[in-house]
């Protein structure tokens, strides 16, 4: 879904509509704790709390409690983030980050050996994830530079921005001009035979860190559509599926959903997909939650009506990558993984997410 062509189109927001419904404390409200009841889905919780089906931030904030977005267990206590991304009223992302920075400064990490700086490369225009004009170089770049100073690391590094994303894969990393690129989707390499050449190349030539972020891919339909709540991908057989032209369909292809099992419609924009759905010309729109909710918001009659399939979703994970010919590649990924693991556990991972989002929103307001 997020091939390098798409990075420039990506805009992340927490889509929300003013005036939520709930009044009671047990209601699903932004900025509060909520205990899952029978029949709840992340989509329905987001809808009540934010007025949109975009539950990406709820998923992010509760990543360690939710194994799959489609199987929510009754009784799970979820933290529903505030509209600005904070976990709660009293939660200050900057405090969490500062605390971790102080902890790091107090650790004496010494080494005898010379350690060459790790050369990190990213690109501009991928808001809010990467860009020189963004705080810390963007959310994903911040995750990388922070990880190199957590989990027992104190690693010198440099960050550069090369806007030709294709060149990262084709030239910069294979030649060793840079060590790590931020950040790339990992294809489902277990389904190698069903992948296109570019994805196969990623599987063959690259090593991946732990996921740094997982975008929830949603499959949106109108409630009365026959495909609205199918329970398996195979059940989409015969459907007309809308997917923005140029955006990858690998997530569906690897499930056997290819022409002529299904029919793909490829307009130029996400908004057009939603319009086609409202006109009944397509059955399902394949869009990640954030882009999906944003597109729905642009089509007034779709708001509150078009919704992602509560039974099916996919996680598209983003990673730091190194080329397999980099002699130190695996070592660098091991270091990054240690840092990331500590950040997930300390809450700093989420704090950077929400701090980057709010900083980005300030920039754009």
């Amino acid at each position: 879904m997020l091939g390098y062509f798409e990075k420039t189109k990506r805009v992340a927001t927490i889509a929300l509509i003013a005036g939520t419904l709930g009044t009671a404390a047990a209601a699903q409200e932004a900025c509060s704790e909520y205990t899952v009841k029978d029949g709840d889905t992340l989509g329905s919780i987001a809808s009540t709390a934010y007025g949109s089906f975009d539950y990406q931030m709820i998923f992010n904030a509760n990543r360690n409690k939710i194994s799959s977005p489609n199987s929510l267990e009754e009784g799970t206590v979820l933290q529903i983030p505030c509209a600005d991304g904070r976990l709660s009223e009293s939660h200050d992302s900057q405090d969490v980050i500062e605390e971790q920075e102080k902890l790091q400064a107090s650790r004496a990490i010494t080494t005898n050996a010379y350690e060459p700086p790790i050369k990190v490369v990213s690109g501009n225009g991928w808001k809010p994830f990467a860009g020189e004009d963004l705080k810390g170089g963007g959310m994903f770049v911040r995750l990388a530079t922070t990880a190199l100073n957590r989990g027992g690391n104190a690693r010198a590094h440099s960050v550069s921005f090369v806007d030709d994303w294709g060149s990262h894969m084709d030239t910069l990393l294979p030649l060793g001009a840079f060590d790590v690129s931020v950040a790339w989707i990992r294809p489902d390499c277990d389904k190698y035979d069903l992948l296109n050449d570019e994805s196969r190349k990623r599987c063959d030539e690259y090593d991946f860190s732990l996921p740094i972020y997982e975008t929830v891919a949603g499959y949106w339909s109108l409630p009365d559509n026959q495909y609205a709540s199918v329970k398996s991908f195979a059940d989409y057989a015969g459907a007309r599926i809308c997917r923005v032209d140029g955006w990858s369909t690998a997530d569906l292809n690897t499930e056997g959903l290819i022409d002529p099992v299904v029919t793909f419609v490829r307009p130029a924009s996400a908004k057009e997909c939603v319009e086609l759905m409202m006109k009944g010309e397509v059955d399902m729109v394949s869009l990640d939650l954030e882009n999906g909710a944003a597109a729905v918001a642009e089509v007034p009659e779709a708001v509150g009506v078009a919704r992602p399939n509560p039974n099916l979703s996919k996680l598209e994970s983003l990673h730091f990558i190194t080329h397999k010919t980099n002699p130190r590649g695996r070592v660098y990924l091991a270091l990054l993984n240690k840092g990331l693991t500590e950040m997930r556990e300390s809450g700093e991972w989420y704090a950077i997410l929400s701090d980057s989002l709010s900083s980005f929103n300030e920039l754009t307001n």
Partner: protein, 365 residues
Amino acid sequence: MKKLTTTALVTLAGLAATAAEVEAQAACETYRVKRGDTLREIAQAAYGNDEIREIYKHNKQAIGRNPNIIVIGTVLQLPCADGSLPGDETAKTAPITEPVETAADEGQDVPKVISFVTANGYLPYTDESLPGQGIFTALVERAMLRANPEQPYTVTFVNDWAAHLEALLPSMAFDASFPWTRPGCEVQKDLSAIEFYSCQNYVYSSPFYEIVDGFFSRTGSIYDGATHYEALEGATICRPEGYSTSHLVEANLLPPVVTLSQPDTAVDCFDLLMDGAVDVVALDTRSGAHLVAAMGLEQQVSENDILSSIVPLQVAVHAENPNADELIADLNSGLILMQESGEWRDMISDALQGEIQKQAGGVMN
């Protein structure tokens, strides 16, 4: 550069260093070096063999760094049959400073040949079937070439790692073995017998390469995705015999906390994993991933991305080896030359590229 390569499965009995046969001519006495003497001749006269190492070992200070050069008038203590030294220390006079270039004088040009020993099966680092006989083998040989091109050496494969440290090097059958990791001598509390011996008796080159030691388990098992070492307590862990246990020590995963299985090879470990006889395979992650692919186990075996340790690989030399200082100095200076020129990086990168092409070829079949 002269190089001889042989492959031998050596029986240990034939190599065991026993006390030299003493022909009681000049053994157990002090002896003053005369013009024309060589250590070899002295050993022949005293012991009936060429074992100059015993004489050198007990007279290092008197002889100096190079056993080929003994100074006229030097008083040597020739060890007795039981290894003890003669008590007579009266015959000490200042040696005439006229170095006897014994090798040249006698026309017996027997240049010392440095003998390295390694073993097969540690892909892609050491294996006769690989280009350069493995990445690590190639690096060591190149370092010797860069640092000391006139120094002849041999590389032999003896497929019994434990024997290298326990018998082959102590008996001086070989000068050096690779790859090994120096135990944490200063910090580790419970060193195993061989680790303690290594700390006392081995000297190590600088690291030629760093690997990431990690864990592999059956996909979907309770160990798959373990985030803390505690999760592996009670498991049966497989690690081939002779491989360093530093990662397990660091993780506090040694018997009785876990059960340790130590078959001959890494392939054995994966077979045991598939049979259910072991729960987890502890191995270098690149080497393990390579084997998993070669054995066609990608779907059944998962690599743990979180629990890993970065481990240096070095060349080990017995401290009592008269060549130790010079050899370590050569290896280290050769390595520095290779790193400065970029040769280190290029050699490894090219070898890893060869690995990619192999893999890609395999998968497309």
